[in-house]
Amino acid sequence: MHNEHSDTHFQSRIDNGEHIEAKDYMPEGYRKHLIRQMSQHAHSEVIGMQPEGNWITRAPSLRAKQILLAKIQDEGGHGLYLYSAVETLGVSRAELIEQLQTGKAKYSSIFNYPALNWADIGAIGWLVDGAAIVNQVSLQRTSYGPYSRAMVRICKEESFHQRQGYEIMTTMMRGTKDQQAMAQDAMNRWWWPSLMMFGPHDSDSPRSGDAVKWKIKRETNDELRQKFIDKTIPQAELIGLTIPDKNFKLDEKTGHYTLSPINWEEFHRVVSGHGPCNKQRLDHHIKYHQEGAWVREAAEAYKLKTAKKELVTA
């Protein structure tokens, strides 16, 4: 009954608000849940480089180009940092990438939407990073130490991205008619998918139970979504963007906004692989991963050769 004892002990550590570290005992379910969630997060950072990368060469000013390049570089860095954090749980990056490419692991469905005009770069920063932050701020208090620390570090950069995205939207709403139309078009396309980023309603979210008990998840999908909505609607209104929802209103009693129902049919369709860019994103990842194989092999061969040379001369 040693294992049972450990599980009890583990749960009491969680209940006491302690961090679990890589070498500590953890139930298999806890480890599995973390691997799934953290690798999904890492993959999202990496796949997210594609829609934003789509605009670097067309960025309309040298300043905008630098901000976008730096942002994408941050996201790649988050990916690396998160992959290392998952590796503490005993899975290699190569395995994680294989899971991504075979569809066994997911990434955030938001990146299965296309970045079609320059304002999309604003909308992604403002809405997508904005939604990610709400989730990640909450995850700073998650029970797994390496994940929690990764979130603390990542959150600082994400809030920077959110502000830069909002700045693009603001500039475009103050700009010409064409620019305003681009901004509104981006808003119309990214608003609902960004609300879907928080996942299904709590009532339809099967995995929440354990994740809450283990304090991996500190707030529910609906709580986090509501925070995002309440924070974002006034920002949209401030710069003259229309919320693409005829029924949204502020409930004076609760201080929260209420919206039309989310189109969960679309959410499930995109998650299950039929969004506008699912195939493109994965194909892209696989293509360049395969094209890079000879480079990785060369680096490995060179490393072995130089190690051997050092052995001989030592």
Binding site: P60, S61, K65, Q66, L69, I72, W118, G175, G292, V295
Partner: protein, 252 residues
């Protein structure tokens, strides 16, 4: 020709080199052979765009027509662009990209070490900031040249091909025209001709260690100082300048 005009042209050339290389390298975003490398190349691209901004801003000041660095970058036609032909060449495979980086970064290291001594204070200041970045770019290119050259049979073959294919564009790096000579006399410009031997021996040293060889002498392509480019530049500019050209009244 006044010193101001000549320096304007000089700043444009250097700015264009940085801008177009930044463009080429940023095309590789999300296409690296490994995530670390994706970030490394994006990092070089970022340095390049930063350098381009500083140089084109200076050019705009010298021009004195109230233009910004963005006007200069986004509203000029091909013929008024003066980046080296080597820089606008497509990325090709990773070995090709590294070959371009090797040729250029070794050149830039030598170049900016000299430009740091320029009597033009702005160029000297930009050069001394650039040197720190270029050291890293050069080390990155050398490390990969060694890995690819002395890695596998395939990587060796690809690396040698990249070096061979691009060699004909390296002669231009050392060309001196009347603007260079004029500014050299005023201790503003770099005597690039004097860098050639050093460049060649540095490159040879790296290639020897990498079990690669310096390509055979060949006819060296030329034209960028006169605004005559390869077909590549037009495509780069039509992509890069698209928003500024399509919405000329917009501010971004």
């Amino acid at each position: 020709m006044t010193t101001k005009d000549a320096t304007y042209n000089y700043a444009i050339r250097l700015g264009d080199n940085a801008l177009i290389l930044g463009h080429r390298l940023s095309e590789l975003c999300s296409r690296g052979p490994i995530l670390e490398e994706d970030l490394a190349l994006t990092n070089v691209a970022l340095d390049m765009i930063g350098r381009a901004q500083a140089l084109l801003k200076y050019a705009a000041e010298l021009e004195g027509k109230g233009h910004t660095e963005d006007d200069i970058a986004y509203r000029r036609a091909e013929i008024n662009y003066h980046n080296h032909l080597l820089i606008e060449q497509p990325n090709g495979d990773f070995a090709h990209t590294i070959a371009r980086q090797l040729y250029l970064s070794v050149f830039e290291y030598l170049f900016f070490t000299e430009l740091e001594k320029s009597k033009d204070a702005t160029l000297a200041a930009i050069a001394s900031k650039t040197i720190k970045e270029v050291k890293y770019h050069m080390q990155h290119a050398i490390d990969w040249t060694l890995r690819l050259g002395d890695g596998t049979v395939e990587s060796h073959k690809r690396m040698q091909k990249g070096l061979n294919d691009l060699y004909m564009y390296t002669g231009e790096l050392f060309e001196m025209d009347h603007i260079d000579t004029y500014l050299l006399h005023q201790h503003i410009a770099v005597d690039t001709l004097s860098l050639k031997a050093k460049w060649q021996s540095e490159i040879e040293k790296v290639l020897t260690e990498a079990t690669l060889s310096l390509p055979e002498d060949t006819y060296m392509q030329t034209g960028s100082k006169k605004g005559v480019h390869t077909e590549n530049l037009g495509h780069i500019l039509s992509e890069m300048q698209y928003l500024q050209r399509a919405y000329p009244d917009a501010k971004w």
